[in-house]
């Protein structure tokens, strides 16, 4: 490849990394707005921890677990801060940064679901484990060239399904893993004080600032223009410039369709269009399109967005009213349910390999299998981690601290004075 082209690719990758980094304040604002003002400093702190821990741990060990060499395709060699093992066209340090921001995105999804009641010290443990271990290992199975994406003719995926698992920018690898961990974390914690009445009926605990959440979601929407088109990891040449433009369009269409679907559904269902749910609907569309943004047509992207926006509302209701799991920001529905859904729909709507385009069901089953394996891994790690902490040390703050707010007791600083 020529020098200028490679430089262009590198700049695009680093620019995209900046945009994905910018999703961190998006998550922070979104979560802070959906929760109460007495816990705002705490949730902001958690978002910082996710990125700080993620940056250090992923550089030192996680990157090796994910991209290091191995035999069977299950786990890479930890790199202990040494980056020389990585051989690729793009500069390894830039590539590390790009992968770091994805790892941190996966980590930061959980903080919202576990908001307003988690011991900060125990959140530190969780945040370290996902960046160090949970994310890099399933990442190795896929983007690290491991067994789910091994396209050798005699590999497990090719002989079983005739296709490898495809997740372009991480509906399953990043978002569903964060979403599943969020669900299990919220389940292990139990609901916030006052969330369910004596009759087990769900009660509303309105967030303290929807303007904050709305800005957060707009920032995330912008960040996604790095998350998805950046995952092409190249911009030079005709193929790449068409590809990143296509991904830009599908990403935006799915986001808009997701928000529209949720807005009209809440309009019909509750009589009034709900802002808080529409914000989630936009994110649902974005999460859903992430897996197949390179493979589906613009119309396919709209369909994925609409389906995710509708399913989101029912997922939030089901998790809240039926499962009685208290997820204050809807992270498990947005990232878990829609991450899985988007990956599966890629198997149907891919124009080059999807079942709806007459390419058979092999790719769809490969997507189903990949999602199942990745999320079982996340669930197993989540159960071991959160229930392990709960048993050994306790995951949750005392009732009195929860009532007064985590800001005062956990940090000694309040967001609002």
């Amino acid at each position: 490849m020529n020098e200028v082209g490679l430089s262009l690719d590198t700049v695009w990758m680093l620019l995209a990394a900046m945009l994905v980094f910018w999703m961190q304040p998006g998550f922070a604002l979104c979560e802070a707005g959906f929760t109460r003002s007495k816990n705002t400093a705490n949730i902001l702190m958690k978002n910082f921890v996710d990125f700080m821990f993620g940056s250090l741990l992923y550089w030192f060990v996680g990157f090796g677990f994910m991209f290091g060499s191995d035999g069977a395709g299950f786990i890479g060699m930890p790199n202990w801060g040494n980056l020389n093992f990585y051989k690729g066209d793009l500069p390894v340090e830039g590539f590390l940064i790009f992968e770091t921001v994805f790892c941190a995105t996966s980590a930061t999804i959980v903080s919202g679901a576990m908001a307003e009641r988690t011991k900060f010290s125990m959140y530190l443990v969780y945040s370290a484990v996902i960046s160090l271990f949970i994310y890099p290992i399933e990442g190795h199975w896929t983007w690290g060239g491991g067994w789910l994406c091994n396209d050798a003719a005699d590999s497990f995926m090719m002989t079983t399904f005739g296709s490898v698992f495809h997740d372009f920018a991480g509906s399953a690898i990043v978002h569903s893993v964060g979403g599943v961990l969020a669900l299990i974390g919220a389940l292990a914690l139990g609901p916030r004080v006052g969330k369910y009445g004596a009759d087990r009926k769900s009660r509303a605990i309105p967030g303290h600032n929807l303007a904050m959440s709305a800005l957060g979601v707009f920032i995330l929407w912008l960040g996604w223009f790095g998350f998805n088109p950046g995952s092409q990891l190249a911009a030079s040449g005709e193929v790449n410039r068409i590809a990143i433009s296509h991904v830009f369009l599908t990403t935006n269409l799915a986001a808009a369709a997701g928000g529209v679907a949720t807005m009209f559904l809440t309009y019909i269902k509750y009589g009034k269009p709900s802002l808080s749910l529409t914000l989630n609907g936009v994110l649902a569309g974005l999460v859903g399109i992430t897996a197949g943004c390179d493979l589906v047509s613009p119309l396919g992207a709209v369909i994925i967005g609409l389906v995710c926006g509708v399913v989101l509302v029912y997922a939030i209701e089901f998790i809240d009213h039926k499962l009685h799991i208290d997820d204050p920001v809807g992270a498990s529905s947005v990232h878990g349910v829609c991450g899985i859904l988007g990956t599966l729909m890629t198997g149907l709507l891919s124009t080059s390999s999807g079942a709806f385009y007459g390419h058979g069901w092999g790719f769809f089953f490969a997507e189903c299998f990949g999602v199942l394996v990745i999320d079982l891994w996340a669930a197993a790690c989540g159960v071991a981690l959160f229930y392990g902490i709960k048993k050994m040390h306790g995951l949750r703050v005392d009732k009195r601290i929860e009532e007064e707010g985590l800001d005062v007791y956990e940090h000694g600083e309040m967001c609002y004075n």
């Binding site: 769900s202 509303a204 509750y270 749910l277 009213h321």
Partner: protein, 115 residues
Amino acid sequence: MKKIEAIIRKTKFEEVKEALLSSDIDWFEYHDVHGIGQSRQERIYRGVQYSTDVIERVAIAIVCRDIFLEPTVNVILRVAHTGEIGDGRIFISDVIDTYSIRTGENGDTVLRDKK
């Protein structure tokens, strides 16, 4: 002398204030109050319906000479009215005496009579 206490909608406070000032009342006190009553608003947050049973209102207290009682009450009745549940209440009680701290005078002449 009479004390008029009125609990009115927050949204009506500015109008009531203007109306009182342009009639014969030169001073009144007010404060924000929270109450529990019949006026409820159904709201939905993230798919959960809830009603706001804590009602925010403004309480106004006016002490006036007997001759101003009726016109003042009528001003409030007219201006604070919307016809919906939750418009509020007016309470009237006798006031035994009043003193001006500056002059030491007492009796209802202490209350200014703009007319």
